[in-house]
Symmetry: none
Subunit: 466 residues, 2 copies
Amino acid sequence: MTTENDRKGRVLAAVDREFENALERLLTLVKIPSISTDPAHARNCRQAADWLTDLLTDLGFVAKTHETDGHPVVVGHSGGAHQRMLFYGHYDVQPADPLDLWVRPPFEADIIDAPYGKAIHGRGASDDKGQFMTFLEACRAWKQATGTLPEGLVVMLEGEEECGSISLAPFLEEHQDMLRADLALVCDTGLHASRQPAIMTSLRGLLSEEITITGPAIDLHSGLYGGLAVNPLRVLSSVLASLHDKANRVMIPGFYRDVRPTDHTRVETWEMLNFDTGRFLGKVGLAAPVNEEGFSALEALWSRPTCEINGMTGGYTGDGFKTVLPSQASAKISFRLVADQDPDHLRERFRAFVMTQIPSDCTVNFTAYAGEKACTMDTTSPLFEASLEELNEEWQALPVMTGSGGSIPVTTMFREILGMNSLLTGFSRGDDAIHSPNEKYSLDNFRKGIRSWARILSRAEELETL
Amino acid sequence: MTTENDRKGRVLAAVDREFENALERLLTLVKIPSISTDPAHARNCRQAADWLTDLLTDLGFVAKTHETDGHPVVVGHSGGAHQRMLFYGHYDVQPADPLDLWVRPPFEADIIDAPYGKAIHGRGASDDKGQFMTFLEACRAWKQATGTLPEGLVVMLEGEEECGSISLAPFLEEHQDMLRADLALVCDTGLHASRQPAIMTSLRGLLSEEITITGPAIDLHSGLYGGLAVNPLRVLSSVLASLHDKANRVMIPGFYRDVRPTDHTRVETWEMLNFDTGRFLGKVGLAAPVNEEGFSALEALWSRPTCEINGMTGGYTGDGFKTVLPSQASAKISFRLVADQDPDHLRERFRAFVMTQIPSDCTVNFTAYAGEKACTMDTTSPLFEASLEELNEEWQALPVMTGSGGSIPVTTMFREILGMNSLLTGFSRGDDAIHSPNEKYSLDNFRKGIRSWARILSRAEELETL
């Protein structure tokens, strides 16, 4: 243990010594406008990928920019007989619009003063360039301190996370042996409540559908036909209103069949988080939670399935008024899934539920969008406990195991395609403004993030199994 | 009588002689995109008004484009000691969207082949440009045949009929002496079942409201907030679904209080029309009527009040999917009123009904649009009988007295502000697609319509009182 601790100390010292250079490298990367959803920036996505392949190669990884049908994937191997950990990050970023709301240009990578201290300002500074560079800089410090990279590391950096990761599943399928490791590490999440380090242990799945109801063959005059002809907007409203009961439960028959009670110890952990519902809702101008009856706010957000209407349109929606009885009405509806809920199965149940409510004079058309299962991590994996201890020491705050109401499809792909469990930790703050103007990343969190990974790598070296 | 008949014959001959020129004038007018509800087309509304003032002046009317707070009103006087008849039409038109459904551009005024023969294609070709031009062309023929215009005619053409006629009531109030006549003539209605000439003797009133429900201060991520934050689209759907029960009755408390049973003789007249519900709905691709339980189809359309959703929007409505939990959702809702139902009173009842359903975390904003009472005409007025005879002769089909589910607010204003009864007749067909893509007006109906007015003007000249 003394040797191990000595090594950890030397690596952490190397992190601090190298920090100014690490910052320069991150700023260089943020300056590349690798917006994946915009074809005009495809060139910049490739530029970011090649820059990262060069960086990994310099560090001693055997690295390559791999082609896909979309943007390239960067993969690097540190070598060794056995692949122990696959680290995942994404080099692509969200579009920067609306540009006029940025206090500095989004791709100049300035250092600014935030309320809490210095921060790196720019699109991708936090999501995910700043975040994944913490891991690569930890590897660099490791090499500087020990002369070699940690053995059995695979680094995979994708370029389509912000536009649906279309190419990722086929890429994982095709390169299973190249990528499969004992455990995946993902750095694309944040601190809890911007204060406590966190490991995210569950993510909800997602099922999205669009429905379009057609009644009359053409738009009708509501005076000449109103009272006799079916109105698709009325039918749609009625269908949408039937999706929940007054206790905010989803009314689709069988919807809860594959929802298991949340693991008792998880719920207990969440209770200790003292989640402040009033504060959480207050930030967006709300006060009254509408969670499913019988469940706490965090349970509702992290471990209960939901149904939300995300968009709805029909008839005349411009300025003024038009007394039209429209031919069509449509809505976009999504479900957050938990536990064993199967998106394909529920899609069929949802469609059947809608069909029972469509009058004989209407037809309904369904369009399938996302369908991903929920993902719950196996927290008994030994590196989880070790990581919590190291995060505690680095941040001097009790780390927490959290859930999330959102979906990170890559963890589901890792589990389903490569049979891998994922350890998700990251160092962004709630006010990093990811996906918004003036995205930033705390300079101090960047440094502590590198140190956190240095510590976790050190503990992983000690463990027989991860 | 011989002299009168001679004159009628000469006027009808002038109609036929002048018809090609009349058509050219109508096509010129249809080409002006005078969409009143869209501020971008205010210029075109003025252009149409000025074009009509010039046309009336050329015909020998003393005419002027009158300013209002909205679009102008055109008024012309034929002169004479006593104002006998006020003719009403509207030069504004509905928006043309969705544009991609038009087989020709909506404002090119093409002549097309309809199943029944040639038709004028374009927005406003029927409603109401083609219709009111029948009267102006009848006046022109009269002048050509007799050397003068009929005495005591007032022509009033408004520009806000399709957006609520906001300025009209104040205009009538302000110019009572300029406008008041013995009887109003209105040409904004159609043939019965596209075959028989008709005089419309009752119209439903109209109440229109827009409601906007606001929940969160900003659009939220449905994964991070879904299950806890109120969703305005859900609230809106629930409100809209609550407006009717399963028997298609409107559920707003007190909604039916001022609805009286329809006059027995009117209902008997309607029964004799042998209204074919299946055929009526079949033309627009429907088969199953949704009328209020306990009432026939014609009663439902002509003498029962309704509630319809005319438009609804909220959240993401573009291509693809966005898992947004939107800040706002809104709907446009209108009611057709009958008998003594008071729009102001019902507007308050509607708002109160909605308010009871708005959760504490949402606010609701109401925008008032139209509010007009229903209107029943006095059919004992002598010109009614004479007009039925002339319509019979011109169309060689028994004319009928009908009701309508639509609203022509001006008839209520004429009654309430100017104490005038209205005679409504018009020549549009059920398949003219007014308010829909590919609006058209039968060329033959345009000609017969002009001839019908020439005949009615001729009979009016003979009558002591109208």
